[in-house]
């Protein structure tokens, strides 16, 4: 079980190292445990998260790629699709069986054909365009809809924080 998961993760790691997508870096933090990765995601340009480098943790199950990994931002995040503790709520990370929000068709959900790269790319597009149908963070979703200026201000603060630049 873990053997084939390990080989697949190794292949993905290799691919992500040799052909990294723009602004994304991912790999195991410590190769003693290949099932725990850290990813750095650059905020997409032209959005309120532009320029930030957001670290996230990816935890893979032993039966990967049959089951999806779990993803959690390790920095502070304020986004309609990210829980307060940093867990990411996007359809690609949901196993075909479970559907906590009840809005996704299984076509958008996890399948072994998906990969770390695809997950991270969808997270980037999620950062760009929040999907306020899934209310992982209700406050953020509300603010995104009603008070965009305040939302942008918070995002700006988070971006500065991830870059280690003190907020003026």
């Amino acid at each position: 079980m873990a053997g084939s998961a390990l080989r697949r993760l190794m292949a993905e790691y290799k691919q992500l190292t040799l052909n990294p997508p723009e602004g994304i870096i991912a790999g195991p933090i410590n190769e003693e445990n290949f099932f725990e990765w850290e990813a750095l995601i650059t905020g997409p340009e032209g959005t309120c998260f532009e320029g930030g480098v957001f670290p996230a943790k990816l935890i893979f199950p032993p039966d990967y790629p049959l089951s999806p990994p779990k993803m959690q931002f390790t920095c502070e995040m304020f986004h309609p699709n990210i829980y307060a503790d940093g867990r990411v709520c996007i359809s690609i990370l949901h196993a075909p069986g479970d559907d906590p929000m009840g809005y996704e068709s299984s076509a958008e959900r996890w399948s072994p054909v998906q990969s770390v790269e695809k997950i991270l790319l969808s997270v980037v597009s999620m950062l760009a365009e929040p999907n306020d149908e899934s209310g992982a963070n209700v406050d953020a979703a509300k603010m995104w809809r009603e008070d965009r200026a305040e939302f942008n201000r918070i995002a700006e603060r988070i971006v500065r924080k991830t870059l280690g630049i003190p907020t003026p």
Partner: protein, 661 residues
């Protein structure tokens, strides 16, 4: 497993336990004290008369036979060996000395455990420690129930015997658990050195051999102690062997896998041979897993049933605990059998419906298996012409019923899922037919119970209960339970109209709730593609606040901190760093240490570059620019032009840091 551990563990964590060193010292001191005491007493030739007088009344059971052996010894012959024998006899008779001996034995056991841990495992991980702690308390709890509840021992020496048996057994159990945990952890890493595998396997095999020895002890005890005692002891013993064997087998398979993997990627001819073995390995691994899991569970079940039925513990606390455990075991066995039936079903379904791909087909699609990303020597073909490894497809279809690549619904109805879906089908059919529309539209009657207590006796309360039927199939909102059903319907429609996007079909089905109606809609051209997912509700991000934000940030920035920050990002040595960036660019090292280092460097670079870009963009618009700042500006401009430098510039400082650390 029912866990009763939490409370004692919490209590124990609060208790100030002595360190192992202190405990060892105390034990040794106690032992030497009692030895000294024993020497003192036995140096007096008349000690036996005193001792028998003393011990006669408190432990009748063991004294007589000891006396018999002692009397035969000639008291005149005072050799060294005799002295020692005398001493040991005395210590066994003296309760205080017995306890120090037992304490010393436990101390030795703990030290042995510590030694093995140092030798084989090194530092234990937190989860391993926690696991061991839990397992330990669980074991103590169950054995306590067993000794005092099930066996119901009366005599102290019996308790001591059982305790020593369980101590050894528990010790081996904990070691086996630790081995299992560590094996699972090691299997998460591709770069475990060979000797750690060898040490772990060596320990596992010694546990297996020791459990064989314990089995012999069981036989010997059973010969004198009767069948029940034998069965009780042997069950635990066999359980240990089964668990250990299971881990050894999994270990062997894993090592084999890893070796196959490395040869498979290394060379073509070897890989081809490995691929064929690979296909056979799947069922073998599955069935060995099944046999071991079921054997373990059944053994446990029989053991618990034995405890429940052959000892008079009905209607006691012990029986309650055992019944709970039995319930758990039954549930587990049921679950396992269900899983196996599902496996068989999927297996047969695949054999019957999906042919193996021909050589031409394999050659045609040069892709790797989409599930494991490895080359396919043999493959199964789904109706949608997608190819997968047999074993990969099997394990996917056990949990899902669609093609991993194109999500086409496959026509699989496993016996487990059958009942649930049949129920849904029924409901759906009822709603689909035109005759039934009325029927389905009518809300099912709500049940309303009302109890008016005061009508009977004045002090009785009145209450009412309303039972409402929630409607699953007529609401506009898609319900979680039915999305898969919706998908299945969408596939049906899409099979007829492959040119229509799946999401479009699903959108329409959400409204019509019927395959026929949707087909009609498609035919009539009434189906329109929905807007893309993410733009449905969100407006494009407004530009104006963005600009405002930038200016406010810029003006509020303090020039001093700004310069500091620039200085941080600035440290660079171009000539050196170009070389490093070339080193990093598009390379996947074979050594794990180097990979880790490169990854860290790449991350640092990304962060640095992002920081610099950010500061460049949000540079405060100052009227007069100092010469140093113009320099920076130039440099940054240059950075922007030259990707190499932008990537490389923070390197030297980073590298400096790396060497330092």
């Amino acid at each position: 497993m029912i866990n009763f551990h939490s409370m004692p563990v919490i209590l124990l964590d609060r208790l100030p336990l002595p360190s192992l060193r202190a405990y060892t010292i105390i034990s040794v001191v106690l032992l030497s004290c009692s030895v000294y005491y024993a020497v003192q007493v036995t140096s007096d030739p008349n000690w036996k008369a005193n001792a028998t007088a003393q011990t006669d009344d408190d432990s009748d059971a063991e004294v007589p036979d000891l006396e018999e052996t002692d009397i035969e010894v000639d008291s005149q012959n005072v050799s060294m060996g005799f002295q020692l024998g005398e001493m040991v006899t005395f210590m066994i008779q003296e309760p205080l000395c017995i306890w120090t001996l037992i304490n010393m034995a436990y101390c030795c056991l703990i030290l042995l455990g510590k030694f093995i841990q140092k030798l084989v495992f090194g530092e234990l991980r937190v989860s391993e420690q926690q696991h061991i702690k839990d397992k330990f308390w669980n074991f103590v709890f169950y054995k306590f129930i067993f000794v005092f509840g099930v066996i119901n021992v009366q005599y102290m020496d019996e308790v001591v015997l059982w305790c020593s048996w369980f101590s050894v057994l528990g010790f081996l159990h904990l070691l086996a658990q630790l081995c299992k945990d560590r094996f699972e952890y090691l299997s998460f890493s591709p770069t475990t050195p060979g000797w750690s595998h060898i040490r772990l396997l060596g320990l596992l095999i010694s546990i297996l051999i020791l459990s064989g020895l314990l089995f012999l002890i069981c036989v010997a005890v059973g010969f004198f102690g009767g069948f029940n005692t034998f069965a009780f002891m042997v069950a635990e013993c066999v359980q240990l062997s089964v668990q250990t064997l299971h881990v050894i087998l999994r270990y062997a398979l894993h090592l084999y896998d890893m070796r196959q993997g490395s040869t498979g990627t290394a060379g073509g001819a070897v890989g081809a041979g490995a691929g064929r073995v690979w296909e056979r390995r799947g069922p073998l691994a599955y069935y060995s897993e099944l046999v071991f899991e079921l054997a373990g569970l059944l053994l446990d079940l029989v053991h618990h049933l034995h405890m429940l039925l052959w000892s008079n513990i009905f209607l006691s606390m012990a029986s309650l605990v055992i019944c709970m455990q039995l319930r758990y075991l039954c549930h587990e066995i049921q679950r396992r059998v269900k899983k196996h039936r599902n496996y068989l079903w999927v297996h047969n379904h695949m054999e019957q419906n999906y042919p193996m791909a021909t050589v031409e087909e394999l050659a045609e699609s040069s892709d790797n298996c989409a599930i494991c990303w490895e080359k396919m020597e043999t493959a199964r073909k789904l109706p949608c012409t997608h190819l997968f490894h047999n074993s990969c497809l099997q394990s996917w279809l056990e949990q899902d019923t669609s093609c991993p690549t194109c999500r086409m619904m496959l026509n699989i109805q496993s016996p487990v899922a059958m009942e649930a879906s049949r129920h849904i089908d029924h409901n759906l059919l009822a709603g689909e037919g035109p005759d039934n529309v009325q029927n389905a539209n009518r809300r099912p009657p709500n049940h309303f119970f009302h109890f008016d207590g005061s009508r009977y006796v004045s002090w009785l309360p009145s209450f009412s209960v309303e039972v409402t039927h929630t409607q699953l199939f007529r609401s506009n909102q898609a319900q979680p339970a039915q999305t898969s059903q919706l998908d299945a319907m969408a596939r049906q429609v899409q099979q007829l109209f492959p040119h229509v996007a799946l999401t479009t079909v699903i959108e329409d089905l959400r409204v019509t709730r019927s395959v026929e109606l949707t087909i009609e809609n498609v035919l009539d051209g009434r189906v329109v593609a929905p807007p893309p997912m993410f733009q449905r509700d969100s407006d494009p991000p407004p530009q104006v606040p963005e600009v405002e934000l930038i200016t406010t940030v810029a003006t509020r920035n303090e020039p001093t901190s700004w310069e500091d920050l620039c200085a941080v990002a600035e440290i660079r040595d171009v000539s050196e760093s170009v070389e490093t960036s070339a080193n990093l660019g598009g390379r996947f090292s074979k050594s794990s240490a180097e990979r880790e280092r490169i990854l860290q460097l790449r991350k640092d670079q990304l962060l640095m570059a992002a920081r610099r870009r950010y500061m460049e963009k949000h540079r405060p618009a100052e009227p007069e620019t100092s010469p140093s700042e113009t320099d920076q500006k130039d440099e940054m401009q240059q950075d922007k032009d030259d990707d190499h430098i932008i990537n490389a510039s923070p390197n030297s400082s980073l590298r400096q840091r790396h060497i330092d650390s």
